[in-house]
């Protein structure tokens, strides 16, 4: 096999993994089958969270923050072992964010132009590439103090939430908009295009109505900024910031795959630098930075003189290769301490222990808030999969620490009583995988509650206006219903008294699903609203003495 074939294999691998990644992300929605048992739970057809389960950065961080390794995260060991043997091949061959960055980095590679010379210069190793190691250490430091800030920077979390919550909804909007224009134009033959677009939105994007996500501008800008930096430096994120890249870089020091250089043959043509992905100085007479190399194989493939050769068990001269990044031990400790210090600072600010945020309704099956912040990796899988568009990234509802973690906004979408999809896709058990029976409950045991509904009498139609309504009661999914009715007499503006039924909420039965809030005809600020109190996961966020006793047992 020639080196050109290897390089082409790498390109194919990048394409295949990117497509696989996008396919699984698109399938993270209402795409699955019902179980055959009497309960008829809905299960996803594909292992949509598998990329995250192979991510050792998330595995290590959650181990540090919870001292447990959740379920399928054990797969990440595969990547650890392979990296120890073969180096950062993940970055160059597999990582979907790496591939996207690569696509955005591409430009004409003419070494004789000024751009080419600038590219050669920018593709040499630079000190900024060490930032990622410090960032990694900071993030691990905060993980150690049970705050999983790593999710903000983990490349897989980042690209899943960015494409899943920003790019796909944007695509959906465009499809919908074009479809609307076609539909309103009334031009006959265009309607066939409309049918195709409808199929795209239903079968590919898996939406039956346009989706909206709270605060995606913040995470969208973060993503698009990362893409934009590629125009200044090739794969700037991968070289300079990616904490997973840093982790794999550190692991690659023991790799048996290395580089041999024949310095004498080099003519200083710079072609290797011109095509370098990692910024690792492959050129002869320079020290190759092993921890920076993505193993893209471009340097060997373009070298006209055969100077550079990747080999298993290479004969490396000491001055030819630098196996590990030079991060002074003091700086390691300082970064670790800095990361750890972040946590007390964040928690001395807005913290759920000081004040529960009534709007912070977590998904069903979410673990207690301190555990939640130690587990949630902000991948957005739960928000992407939610068929009712109920789950959204937080902005500051869970404090700065909890940015982009999931929150349920009932006015946009309620929690479907018989749906357990968010727990099925959560890679780290921040949302436990609950069974449908557990969620719905039995006669003896109440189902999973995420909050409690409250009626606002000043806005409720029967109470405030003497107008019959009770849509909330109609929709209440529990049996017996958590909303019960009291017949009251109300004075109408014309002086006449009418009998109407006012809704009341039984907190013992209410699960906080928010269906009532979602369908309340008072559309701007609903007359019935769910707040987080009464959520099963919390022993403290309870109203009644009795239910408090129940959560504690």
């Amino acid at each position: 096999m020639t080196i050109k074939t290897v390089r082409n294999l790498r390109r194919v691998s990048q394409g295949v993994f990117l497509l696989l990644f996008l396919w699984l992300l698109l399938r993270t929605g209402f795409s699955g089958v019902l179980t055959e048992d009497a309960i008829r739970d809905f299960r996803l057809s594909y292992p949509v969270k598998i990329f995250l389960q192979f991510d050792p950065l998330l595995a290590i961080s959650t181990i540090l923050s919870t001292w447990r390794l959740y379920d399928g995260m054990i797969w990440s060991l595969v990547l650890v072992v392979l990296t120890v043997f073969f180096g950062r091949f993940f970055c160059g061959w597999i990582c979907p964010l790496g591939t996207v960055n690569q696509i955005f980095s591409s430009r004409k590679k003419n070494r004789k132009s000024i751009i080419g010379w600038n590219l050669v210069e920018s593709n040499r190793w630079h000190r900024y590439q060490n930032i990622k190691y410090y960032l990694l250490i900071v993030l691990l430091g905060s993980s150690l103090l049970t705050s999983l800030l790593v999710g903000i920077f983990d490349p897989l979390s980042l690209i899943i939430r960015s494409i899943g919550l920003v790019v796909i909804p944007m695509t959906g909007y465009v499809v919908d908009f074009v479809n609307g224009v076609i539909f309103n134009s009334g031009v006959g033959f265009l309607s066939y295009l409309g049918i195709v677009l409808d199929m795209i939105s239903r079968s590919v994007l898996l939406t039956v109505k346009p989706v909206h996500y709270h605060t995606i501008i913040s995470l969208g800008l973060f993503f698009f900024l990362i893409l934009a930096t590629n125009r200044l430096f090739t794969r700037f994120w991968c070289r300079g910031l990616c904490p997973l890249g840093a982790l794999l870089g550190v692991l690659s020091r023991w790799s048996i795959l290395g580089m041999e250089k024949d310095h004498d043959k080099c003519t200083d043509c710079n072609l290797c630098l011109l095509h370098c992905h990692g910024g690792d100085d492959p050129i002869a007479n320079a020290t190759w930075k092993k921890s920076e190399c993505h193993l893209c194989m471009n340097c060997q493939a373009v070298c006209p003189e055969g100077v550079i050769k990747f080999k298993l068990f290479p004969h490396e001269k000491k001055q030819d290769v630098k196996k590990a990044p030079s991060i002074p031990r003091r700086k390691v400790i300082a970064s670790l301490a800095g990361g750890a210090a972040l946590v007390p600072m964040l928690r001395s600010g807005d913290d759920f222990k000081a004040k529960f945020n009534e709007l912070l309704i977590r998904p069903p099956g979410a673990v207690a808030e301190d555990q939640f912040l130690a587990r949630c990796v902000r991948c957005g899988e739960c928000m992407k999969v939610c068929p009712n568009n109920a789950l959204h990234p937080t902005f500051l509802e869970a404090g700065w620490e909890g940015i982009w973690s999931p929150v349920l906004i009932p006015r946009i979408g309620y929690c479907e009583h018989t749906c357990t999809l968010c727990g099925q896709v959560c890679p780290t058990g921040a949302i436990r995988e609950i069974t449908l029976e557990e969620k719905v409950g039995t006669k003896e045991r109440k189902g999973v509650s995420i909050g409690t509904a409250f009626v606002d009498p000043s806005r409720c139609l029967p109470i405030a206006m003497g107008t019959p309504c009770q849509v909330c009661e109609e929709w209440c999914p529990t049996s017996p219903k958590a909303i019960y009715l009291e017949e009251i007499s109300v004075l109408k503006p014309n002086g006449e008294s009418v009998l109407v039924k006012r809704p009341r909420v039984n907190p013992d039965l209410c699960i906080g699903c928010g269906a009532c809030e979602n369908v309340c005809p008072v559309v701007d600020r609903p007359a019935i609203c769910v707040t987080s109190i009464g959520e099963s996961r919390s022993a403290e966020n309870q109203i009644l003495l009795e239910s408090r006793a129940k959560t504690q047992t």
Binding site: F30, L34, A38, R40, F42, N179, G180, F183, G194, D198, S201, R202, V208, K209, P387, N388, E416, H417, T418, C419, V440, L461, T467, P468, C469, Q470, V471, E473, E474, W475, C476, P477, T478, S479, P480, K481, L485, K501, V519, C520, P521
Partner: protein, 322 residues
């Protein structure tokens, strides 16, 4: 180049500028609008959907089938009314409208029985229907409700098209009601040749019962949650706007309380009955007994009777023991 002589390029440039300038001015003139906040008045088509056959003998009949499988019950009830051929002609485009409102299993009796729906589809196809569409505007997510109710699988296996809708599948129509005027109506309902209403018998907190006429909430979109404010008149307006070819009411299982969503098997009672007829009011009136009610207890039935949509006096009907 002498003075006053343009090259071709100069000429084109100057003409181009002149054209662009006049285009901007012209566009400004055309688009100028002194009252930008006034929405254009929507022109709404007035449609009346009367799929019922004008046959007073048929109108006087109610068929009641008991103790059989859901599909057997449907088959017998339709046969008692003279067979499917009375209702469906060759080449008809038929819409079957079950209640698929909620994300519930058949046993929980919040949606029409899937086997009953499938049997209806088969009957229509056997009578030569060119196409059978099963459609409902659901409450919970349409993908979930059609799937968990078992109706998607059963209807598709029987040869029907299950209609999945988006906002584009509605048409604003003047319903011509006392209360309901312009509302978005599901297009297949308007475009059909025949419409078969297949409700399930359920308790309802506000109206006490949700039966055949109430099932037509599922042919419209829009702000349905406002209809509760005058629910009896809304139901009667809808029932006057749209008269089905045939009502085949599923009472294989009835939801006795916690309706219309239910959720617990304790709320369900098995009757193994199907009631069919052409008079929507009479069918609904007959069905009230399964919920331990009388027709007078359900105010929209009484209002429909008063409006003249049909009769709630079931003693006036010929009850066919199917």
């Amino acid at each position: 180049m002498g003075a006053g002589v343009y090259t071709r390029r100069e000429f084109l440039k100057k003409t181009g500028k002149a054209v662009a300038a006049s285009a901007v001015l012209g566009a400004g003139y055309v688009l100028a609008d002194s009252r930008p906040d006034y929405p254009e008045e929507k022109i709404v088509e007035s449609v009346s959907l009367n799929y019922a056959k004008d046959d007073s003998v048929l109108f006087g009949k109610l068929a009641v089938a008991r103790d059989d499988t859901p599909s057997g019950l449907v088959k017998r009830a339709v046969a008692a009314l003279g067979g499917i051929g009375v209702f469906i002609s060759k080449g008809d485009k038929v819409v079957v409208k079950p209640n698929v409102g909620w994300d519930r299993t058949p046993e929980q009796a919040a949606n029409t029985n899937p086997e009953a729906v499938a049997e209806m589809v088969r009957l229509c196809l056997s009578a030569g229907a060119s196409e059978v569409i099963v459609a409902d505007v659901t409450c919970n997510d349409q993908r979930r409700t059609f799937l968990r109710s078992g109706i998607k699988e059963a209807a598709e296996d029987a040869g029907a098209t299950v209609f999945s809708y988006s906002s584009k599948n509605f048409m604003d129509v003047d319903l011509g009601g006392k209360l309901l005027t312009s509302w978005p109506v599901l297009k297949p309902i308007i475009e059909a040749d025949k419409l078969i209403n297949m409700p399930i018998v359920k308790h309802h907190g506000l109206t006490r019962a949700t039966l055949g006429m109430k099932n037509f909430y599922g042919i419209i979109g829009g702000m349905r949650n406002q209809l509760h404010q005058k629910i009896d008149q809304s139901i009667v307006d809808l029932a006057s706007f749209c008269r089905p070819t045939l009502v085949v009411a599923d009472c294989y299982r009835a939801l006795m309380r916690n309706g219309p969503v239910g959720g617990s098997l304790d709320d369900v009672k098995e009757y193994k009955t199907v009631v069919a007829g052409v008079d929507s009011v009479a069918v609904d009136a007959y069905l009230t007994q399964f919920l331990n009610l009388t027709p007078e207890d359900v105010r929209h039935i009484a209002l429909a009777h008063k409006t003249g949509l049909g009769t709630m006096k079931i003693e006036d009907k010929v009850i066919l023991d199917a």
